[in-house]
Each structure stands twice: as structure tokens, then as C-alpha cells.
Symmetry: D2
């Protein structure tokens, strides 16, 4: 068995299937896609990649299937799905997700096309694993799919500890070894064994705290919004075909943006960390419902309206209004008093954590430092937000 040294899990043992999969182009590409995208602009050590994360998820999946003593076929399928689960991500991961969905109609968890069009599928078949079953598992479907994509999956376990290790923020240090030992299969479903409510809660807590300090940090959100805007322009201008766009690496996207005049300034700002700033930063309660989680066209319209009112170029206004937070962990099932139950029904913490997530929700309007004041005023008017929203 080949072993690989990992900064988080120490030695990771690779089965021959994993070795073969790692040699494919879609997996090697992940070496050039950062796990935390623009978070490195805030936490400079956060340069770890989706490649090493994929190895970590594979490792935890291997531990889990060993612990659950699954039969070989299912075990192989789960390990394969764990390894390739992020292969569908575009450059900068989640931060180009919306652009790719708009232009390709495809979510990163849908990887059927990848298995057909690249050597990933061939290699799986050579290893005796059904590509379709792997694709379904990546999407959380099929037997024990929730191990790879569910409320308390191995993906989440790896990224929490890995992001903690690389950012230096301690909140992600969950007890993944205990969680994996607590896995049980009851009536075909993956559940957490009795006596582990606190263990399960800890994963939910970890994500809530990492959201507040890392994942939703306003600097990373600003950079992400700038990237999204520039990506849309690149795609709208037909400079890069959507299929090609989705397979770029982080830096290839930056290079493409630099080479296209209308996006060159945004690219330069991202590269040299001369970011837009917050003109407006409003809590959920201060924002009329109609401006929450708005779609692409409406967002662009509002940006133009704000720009016009502020007397600036539309490119100088970015509106960032995220959807309401979700909490997939609360759907995880834990055994309490002998009965599998939804974590949300057994843990008095879940409601509090949901409230926390809403508490840190913010609508943002971003602009270059030179136009902050005029954009702030215009945005407050257009979005009907009253109080002084300067951060």
C-alpha cells in the first residue's frame, strides 16, 4: 500500500483504486484549486487545496467503512466517491458556483459528465466500480450516501479540522475520530450511536463558529463577490466558454480576467488585495424581505440603480445578499434512548445555533474606496435601509 503524509491525518494509506484515481487529470487539477478560495486574503496561511482535502475525506471514509465493516463493493464505492467528491468544483470553488450554475445549469455535486468526459470514469470502470453509483453517492444518494454528503459527513469532518489547522483558528477542532467510531447503520441509514449528542453538536458548533470567523469573513465575501461579478462578465462576453471556465484553476481564472480589458481592473484588485470596501453592511432585521436572497437579474438591476443614483460606473457597485443560512447538520440522526432521532429534535443547541447563523447574516454593498460615501447613500435609499449602516 502506498502511504501519503498529510499535515492533518499523518499517514494516509491509499488502496490501488485511489492511486489510480489520483493520477487522473480531474484529481491533479485540484492541486491548483484552493480549499478556501479568497480566505487567504484574510488568513494568509489558508492556502491548502482541494487535493489534500480530497485525500483527507478519502481517509476518513476508509476509516468509516472499516469501522462499519461494509461489504467490499459498497466500501469501494464510498471510498471512490469520497476521493472524487470535489472534482466537479470550478475555480475558486463555491465562489464561482453561481456563475457556473447560471451558465451551465450544473451544480458541483453533479459529476456524471466528468465521469463520462474525462479519464475518471474509465479508471473507475477499470477498478470495477460503477461510475453512476459513484456519481449518485457524491450527490448524497444511494446506500449510505449520507456518509459522503449528508448532515455529518466525512467531507465536513475533514474540512473543519483542516481549515482550523491552516487558518490557525481553533474552532474547527472536532473529535472526528470519535464521530467515526460512533457511526452505526440502522435500517440502512447512517446514524450516530447513543451517548454522542455532544459529539454531534460539536460539529455543528464548529461550523457555526468557523462561519462567523472564517467562511463568512467580510473580506473574503467582498473578494468572492468581486470574483463572481468578474466571472459573469467574462462568461457573458464569451471570452471563455462555460465548459472551459468550469475546468480552470484559480490562477488560470485570474489570468483570464487579467487578459480581458473589462475585467482586468477587478483581477488586479484581487491579485494585489486592493479590494472594494463595505459601503453598506446591514443585519437581517434592517433589510426588507424583498432584498434578501435575490436572483441574478434583480441583483444586476439593483446595482445599476444604485450606481445611477450614486453617479458612478455600474462596475463600481456590488450587491451581495446571501440566502438564509441552512444547517444540514441538524438533519443528522443520533440514537437517543435506543431510537434514531433528528439531531434538531434532541439538541437544545440547534435552535440557538440557527439563531446565531441568522445573527451573523449581513447584506453587503461594496464599492471602491473612492466611491464609498456616494454608494452608501444611494444604496440605503434604493434598498430602503434606514439607519447608518457603516461598518
Amino acid at each position: 500500500m502506498t502511504t501519503i503524509k498529510d499535515s492533518v491525518h499523518d499517514y494516509i494509506e491509499l488502496c490501488p483504486m485511489a492511486e489510480a484515481l489520483l493520477d487522473t487529470e480531474p484529481m491533479q487539477r485540484l492541486r491548483y484549486v484552493r480549499q478556501l478560495s479568497t480566505v487567504q486574503l484574510v488568513y494568509p496561511s489558508a492556502n491548502h487545496t482541494r487535493f489534500e482535502h480530497s485525500l483527507g475525506v478519502y481517509h476518513l471514509a476508509s476509516r468509516a467503512v472499516d469501522h462499519l465493516d461494509l461489504e467490499d463493493d459498497l466500501a469501494a464505492r464510498l471510498r471512490a466517491a469520497a476521493l472524487v467528491h470535489d472534482a466537479g468544483h470550478g475555480p475558486f470553488g463555491h465562489q464561482t458556483e453561481r456563475a457556473i450554475e447560471r451558465h451551465l445549469g450544473r451544480h458541483h455535486d453533479e459529476i456524471e459528465w466528468l465521469l463520462e468526459e474525462t479519464d475518471l470514469g474509465t479508471v473507475l470502470e477499470e477498478q470495477g466500480v460503477d461510475p453512476d453509483a459513484v456519481a449518485a453517492t457524491v450527490d448524497g444518494r444511494g446506500p449510505l450516501g449520507e456518509l459522503v454528503s449528508g448532515g455529518l459527513d466525512v467531507d465536513r469532518m475533514d474540512y473543519l479540522v483542516r481549515d482550523a489547522h491552516h487558518t490557525g483558528v481553533p474552532y474547527g477542532t472536532i473529535d472526528h475520530a470519535r464521530l467515526i467510531r460512533a457511526f452505526q447503520v440502522v435500517d440502512g441509514d447512517l446514524v450516530i450511536a447513543d451517548g454522542n449528542v455532544a459529539t454531534a453538536e460539536s460539529a455543528l458548533i464548529a461550523r457555526t463558529l468557523m462561519n462567523a470567523t472564517v467562511y463568512r469573513h467580510h473580506v473574503s465575501r467582498i473578494a468572492g463577490a468581486m470574483l463572481d461579478r468578474a466571472s459573469e462578465r467574462l462568461l457573458d462576453d464569451g471570452v471563455v466558454a462555460p465548459e472551459r471556465f468550469a475546468r480552470l484553476t484559480d490562477e488560470e481564472l485570474l489570468a483570464a480576467l487579467s487578459d480581458h480589458e473589462p475585467t482586468a481592473d477587478l483581477a488586479d484588485r484581487l491579485r494585489n488585495r486592493r479590494l472594494y470596501k463595505r459601503a453598506l453592511w446591514a443585519r437581517r432585521g434592517a433589510v426588507p424581505d424583498e432584498f434578501v436572497a435575490i436572483d441574478y437579474d434583480r441583483t444586476r438591476d439593483l446595482e445599476r440603480e444604485i450606481a445611477s443614483a450614486a453617479g458612478v460606473d455600474p462596475a463600481s457597485v456590488i450587491l451581495d445578499s446571501p440566502g438564509d443560512p441552512s444547517s444540514p447538520e441538524s438533519r443528522a440522526r443520533v440514537v437517543v434512548d435506543g431510537e434514531p432521532q433528528r439531531l434538531a429534535d434532541r439538541s437544545p443547541l440547534v435552535a440557538g445555533l440557527d439563531a446565531c447563523a441568522r445573527e451573523i447574516w449581513r447584506l453587503g454593498v461594496y464599492a471602491p474606496p473612492a466611491h464609498l460615501e456616494s454608494v452608501r447613500e444611494a444604496a440605503a435609499t434604493v434598498l430602503e435601509i434606514e439607519a447608518d449602516p457603516a461598518p
Copy 2:
């Protein structure tokens, strides 16, 4: 400056006052009092002592007074109080607290007597620090006393990370460096600066999770209850005077218990980890209010009643009914929108965490393995607890 290497904070620099204080007998004694008492019976690596913890608390206090740029006198008082804050603990810390309070009427945070009767007071005076002011600070009183004993004090910060390091349980890994940088003095009160609600919550969360997995682990509770029972007997029998008892080390207490025939069996059981087991283990909802947080005499009466009903020796029944949990962190004050406010009023998590604490509350009745069944039945009847309460 002398420096000491610490497993948690790396190098700790000692001012001359700290060096002098460390050389006193009450401080050296803490080398022989474990920080987590009987928790080592569950987590075998948890052998760290109140001595190293005291150094850690001193270190964090030094960082905080530097950050707050306090004037010299106040800074020295706070550092001194941080260093000696645990000197009043009896053997096994919190686990002999009730016995000492009953027999001496003294809580471990009241250390005036220690400053008078030992060289601690003399050394403080030699160093130009007022012992009375130090004693008040240890008790959370006086200027910035909450730094040493308050909602988010340096004591708590040190023990959470230290207990995590030594048990191996990751939940205590809070971001203490950020908390200390977030300290501000507003109108003479210690508060957490704006933008740090999540940082403050994380400390509260850490304690909640450490409670569930470490501090309130049933094996440690059983050992603690056995120790409490044996200590009361030792004191009642006049074998050791209360003043002497309060100054024993962990092992000196075990030796004293071994040497006294009526407590020898309990001592042997503690030493060799042949502990009582849970005959009854009931949630808060299943226990009539009158049996929650009962006092010493009532506890002993109930134990005798249960023993009589079960037909066993009274020494074979231990009733452990803790009080309702408290959450001092929720009183910590954080600045939000420019205004200091109680954490409990700003954080939607606090209520959830309080509920968590109630969720893990349990009344326990413990007995030697041989008598579990009879004691369970008798206890259920006497305490009017219906359902099958076997753990």
C-alpha cells in the same frame, strides 16, 4: 527575568514577585493537587496540576494587564491574584469543597486566612502588594477583579485549553489570545470589545462541551462522590482536623483514608479504580423537585432510607444530586454597536447552552456492583422515580 517552559503557553516569563510567590509552601503544595482530580480515572493523561495551571493563569493575566496598559500597582495585584488564585483549594479541588465548607465554613476563593497564616502574605508584603487587595481580587471583588474571577476570566481561559491539551479532548481549544486582545476597560469594568461575540460565545461553548465529555463524566462523578463521602466520615470521626484536612495533597488524603478502617475500603476502591456503579441515573424531568440539590443531612437520611429498603449497609449507597447548572460566562459583558451588554442578552446561543447544561444534568445513585439491583429498586421507590433508570 526567569522563564519557565510550559506545555500550553510555551515560555512563561516570571517577574520577581512571581518567583518569590512560587517559592512559598502554599504554591509548592499545588504541585501535588491534580487540576482535574479524579478525571484521570477516565482520561488517563489528565494528570496536570493546579501548580502549572496557576502559572498559566498568571501568564494570561500578565498578557492582559500589558494589553490594557494598567498602572503598576493594579497590574501587580492582578498578577499576584492570578498566580495564587487556587492556593485555597483542598485536596482533589472541587471534590472536597463541600466537605470543607461544611466543616470549616470556608470556600476555596476565600484566602484571607492563607495570607495570614502562611508565608504567602509575608512575601506579598515584601513585594509591596497588599494581601487584602489580592484576597479580594481572588474572590472577584475590587478593581478589575473579574479578570481573575468573572464571566470570562483568565482562570477559565487557561483551564479550557490546558484540560484539552492533557485529556486529548479537543473542545477546549478556545482562542485565548484573541480574547485577551479583545479586553477593554469601560467605566472601570472589564468588557469584550466590539466584533467579538463569537469569540466570547466560543468560551461558553467550550465549557459546555467539556462539561458534557470531561468535567461531568459519570465515572469522575462517582469517584468524586465516593471521595466526598469518605472525607465526611474522616472529618466526622475526628481523624484529621478540618484545618489540616484542607491543606492535604491528593495522595495524602488517600493515605489518610487508607489508614482509617471505616474509610479504607473506599480508599482502596478509588486507588485501584474498583468504583461503585450507577444504580440509578435520572434526567432532570424524572426527578421530583424536592430531590434536586438537596443538603448534606437530607442526603445522608435518604441514603440510609434507601440502604434500609435495599437491605444493605448504608456505606453501600451514595446519592449524588447536583444543583442546577450555572453559566457565569453569560454575565460577561461584550460591546455590541458601541454599548457594553451582557453576553446573555446579545447571544442567541446562551439560552441553547443553558438548555444543554440542563439536558446533561443527572441524579445518580451509586452502589458497589454486587448490590446494584437491590439499591436500584429501593432508590427508585424512595426517590419516586418511575421509569427504568438503568444507564
Copy 3:
């Protein structure tokens, strides 16, 4: 399978045999014997015990026997030996070793008597493991005995990382996971596989650096020498029988020393860290050969001679002249170019590390601070050491 959380190896899985062995008195006693004895007087966090270390050694042995795919009987014997390998240690481990050897003629690796006289042997037999074979393995004899006691054994691997974790000194952080994966059995001998000279060297280096900064720290050596002297007196005076002495815990020995008038002062000094200081501290080159590694009677004679010349009580002079350092790791066998060879023959570092060990060798003469000058002068004369030997 029962699992135990460890601060170093995270979860340790216990086989039923291990569980049964842990419940014996000789194993439980190790909870009260510190792994690093008096080192905690220098590194205050170093309070870890031989109990948790024993668990760690068992864990590494389990990993190794799994990796080597040994047959069940041999695997069980090796795991048992790993777990009980330290059961023969007296109080304060190595620091009472010489006293015990002088009075009992027994080394701590000889545990046949323990297996006969305590429940350890019975439990082994119940578990189907031959106690004699276990005793031989603890002593490094029999099939693969070098796994438990040899040049690169699992004992060493555990203590290096554990001592690093608990002192905070980073030098012990070896790559034990790689070392274990590198184990091979060639012609019945344990060897390190090809390509791992650096891995093997790192363990030797780690011990050399830990020696210099931790294990041979002069404060710990002074405390150890005081303890040795007091122990000899206690035994000579017949206060505690040698058999009983060898089974005391650390604190029981301190208590016994406190209770005996001639050793009470030394006990008080050890407890309250009022240690003797170095009157003389001489390098190997400055010490005539006849005063290196001298035996018990000669040491006592010289101490009396020095005391008489200095005009102080013989109890005020302690002479500490250790033997030449040994380097068991250099005997470890590594495969190079397909052939097992002694590490010393393949590594250009071994000679350098041996020289390092000689470089830090020191003869010490210790005395109470009040008598330092007179003892220094007398000792320099008696031991024919010329230069000013003040540290």
C-alpha cells in the same frame, strides 16, 4: 472494544487482555508514579505518569504487531509485555533504581517476581498468555523481544513524543508512525526497512537532545541525587523493608521520608523545591578516571571525606558521578542496500551523537546553599579537580 482517549495517540483500543491487565494492582499503581520523576521541578507540566505511558507503549506495540502480521500467540505476548513493561519500577522510576538494586538485587526489567506475587501473573494465565514469556520479553529476550526492549523499541518511541508533549520541549517529536511502518522481520530479527536511515537517526537525535535539555537537566539530577541519598538512609535504617519500598508510589515515598527524622529535611527540601545547589560541576576531561562512575561505598566515603574537609555534616554533601553514556539506538539494525546492518555502522551521525553525550556529561557535587563555598573547595581538593568549577 474499549477505547481510551490519550493526549498523545488520541484513541487507544484495548483488547480484553489489556483491559483485564489494567485492572490489576501493579498497573493501577503506575497512576501514581510520574514518568519523569523530579523533572516536574524544572518543567512544571511534566506530570504525566507511567500509567498513561504504558497505555501508549501498548498502543504502539499493537500497531506494530498488526503491521508485521504476527501470529496470535506472539502478538498477544508482545502486547502484554508492552503494557506491563514498567510495572517493576519503584517510586520515582529510575531515581530509586540504584537503591533498589543494592538492597534487593533486582532491576526494574526483571518482573518475574511481580508476575508470581501479584494478580498480574494470574490474569495473564487466565488470558492464555505465558507469564514467563512475558517477563522475558520485558527484558528484551525471546522472539522479537527487541520490539519492547531494544535499540528502537516502542517504549522509546512513546516516551520521546509523550515527554515532548508534556514538557513543551519540541525535540522528542519523532515520526513514530513511520518507524512502525518501517519495521520488518528478517531471519527472526526486527529491523528497519531500507530507505529509513534518517528515520532511525531521528530517534537517536531526539533522545540526545532530550537528554541535554530534559532528562539530564541539572536541577532534576540534583533532586534525584537527594532522593537517592534519602532512600538509602531509609533502607539502611530499616524503616521500610526493601520489598515494600520497591512498591511505594512517589508520594508514599515522600511521606515515608518526611516521617523519618534523619530524612525529613531532605523530604521537605524536595517537596518545597528548596534544593541543594551545584558546588562543583565538572566536565569529563577535568575529572580523573578513578572518580568516574564510582560505586556506592566509594561515593559515600568520598562524600564523608569532602564533608570532613569542608567542616560540614556528611548529609550536606552529595556526590553524583554518572557512568559513561550509552547509546542503545546505535545497535538497532537498519536495512541498507538490502542488507541489515547496525545503525552505528551506517550512520555518520552516531559517532557525533556519542560525542555529544560525552560533551554533556558532568560530575556534580551538591550542597545546601549555605555551604556551597566550603564544599566546593573541599571537593575540588579531594577529587583533584583544578579549575574553578562553579557553574
Copy 4:
């Protein structure tokens, strides 16, 4: 003061000068230059950048100048030099060093041109720091220049611990906090205070072990040699001007190589980890002196000769014959018995470590897997290496 969270040093406080320097283009560029270049092809977690490393070096320099209590001007100069010390590196750091030196005649430590041509110099002047003095310090010249570039500089301290953290290899964990506390200035020179020979040795040891397992890992060496060869071709073909080449990021270089037909295959092999393999891998003793550390033209000649003898394309043969290892740490000066002395003169380890470095020296000849056999035979003949050199 602004603080930045770092995965290695936790919080790093930035002075206003550092903040201003970080905003320059040459510093932001370092976000896209990996610290360990192609090592990520072996250790997948090693994606940390020269940007975060630069912050770490600045942090340690700040600690050192505070500890040494230097006057403000010198302190500012040293901190500035520490922060910008790597700004002169080309893409993939050391792996394009030779190509840049050949085509530009410039070493990465010579940064005068950078200070003149970019905003780095302007910002330094605005902050009242002399750019020329900073450039000299980066090169190890001027007052206390050895703090930034010397035998035991802060650069080395940071990269050893950082590379350990990110690769997962434990050998780099030196005690940098102690080393910095041990710094002294004696007669204007930086030395290590008395009692710290082991501390100084540990840094030398750490580099030796990291060399053996990480920095000189054959897979990284092969990738580096492929990159060097492709870079030379790119420059020779005039596709990218040397000045521009030196300022590319890692991925910009890969992109440039992909876009140029004669280097496209090498680029694809590097990107997808389809590397050349070792046809020959020979120890120092087996290699005639004339083939050690040969220059560019001779290397190319030999490669052509080997290719011709093997009947393959010259692009299919890469000869990699490094110079003899150097050990800058051995020049560090430590105080022993009151006198500053070269570490090499006081430490018996230095000679052993030098021997270790020679022991791991290898000449390599690399070729695509398809031509391994023919190239091996031809290379053995041309280079007069007898024995079977297959790894």
C-alpha cells in the same frame, strides 16, 4: 496595531511600516509563490507560500529586536529586511534560481533593483527606512545582518517550523522561542548565549533531517530539474524576457511553459504529476569528481551525449548533479565558557551532520518511464559509473 492570524505563530502584530510594505505588488505576488515549490507533489499539504513565510520571518525578527532592545532605526531596518527578504525570488523559488542567475546574473538575495523599480523602495523611504540598508541586510551585510541572513537567522527558524507544520513531517520543530531569547550582541556580532549549544545544534539537526526527508526528496528534485530544463528552454527561445521571467508566479510559469510547444510536454508532466523517473541514482563515492557540481554547458553536453548513446531525444535526458552540501549553521557563533566560538568548533555533532549531508548526496539522471533502461545504460557509460545504479 493590525494583527494577522498565522497557522504557526498565532497572532502576528504588524507595525505601520509592515502594513504599508505588505500592500506593495512585490509582496502580494508572494501569495502565488509556494514556499516549497514542487515539494507539494510529494507532500500534498505543502502549499504554504512565501507570503505567509515572510510574515513569520518578520514576526520572529520583531521578537528578536525587542529582546535585544535595539535602537529604533536599526530595529526598523531589520524588521523591513525580514519582511521583504524573499521578494527577489523567481517563480518556484530555488528551482528557477540557476536559470535566473544565468540569464540575469542576479541572485535572489540581491534586491537593490526591486527596491528601485517597484513601489517597495518608495514605501520604505516614506517610512523613513533606507532602501539600500535594507537591501544590504537581506544579503546578510551591515549591522546584525546575520539576524536575517546568517547561520542561525530568523528566516531559517521560520521555515523549519512552518515546513514541518505544513508537510506533517515532525523534524522541523525547533525551539525558536528559546533561540530568540538566547540571542545576544557581543562586539556588534549576533551570538547565541551560553548554555545553548544543544539549542543551536537542534536547528542544524532539523535542517539535516528535513533535507533528507523533504527538501531533497527525489521526486521534488526530479520535478525541479524538469522545471529548470524547461525554464532554460523558454528563456533561450526568447519567449519570455529574463526580467519578466523572474517576476512570474508559479502558475504563470506553468502557463507560459504550456503555451510554448517545445516545453508543453514538460509543463503537462509537471501539472499532472507524470514525472520522469530515476534512470541513475548514484552516491558521491561512485561518481568521478569531474561529474560533480558541473556547470550549465557541460551538463547540457553530457545530456546530449547520453541521449545520443541511448538513441533518444535530448529532451528525454536530464542530468542533475548538485554541488557539495554546505552547512551555514556551523558558522553560527555560540558563547561557551564566556567566549563566542563557531558552533562547528564546539559541537561534536557538526562533523557528523556534514557527513550525513554527504551521505544523502546523489547524482541523478532522469528520463521518461519509457526510456529508463536505455538511458540508464548510456548514462552509466558516459559518466563512468559502474555498479547497477537502479534505485
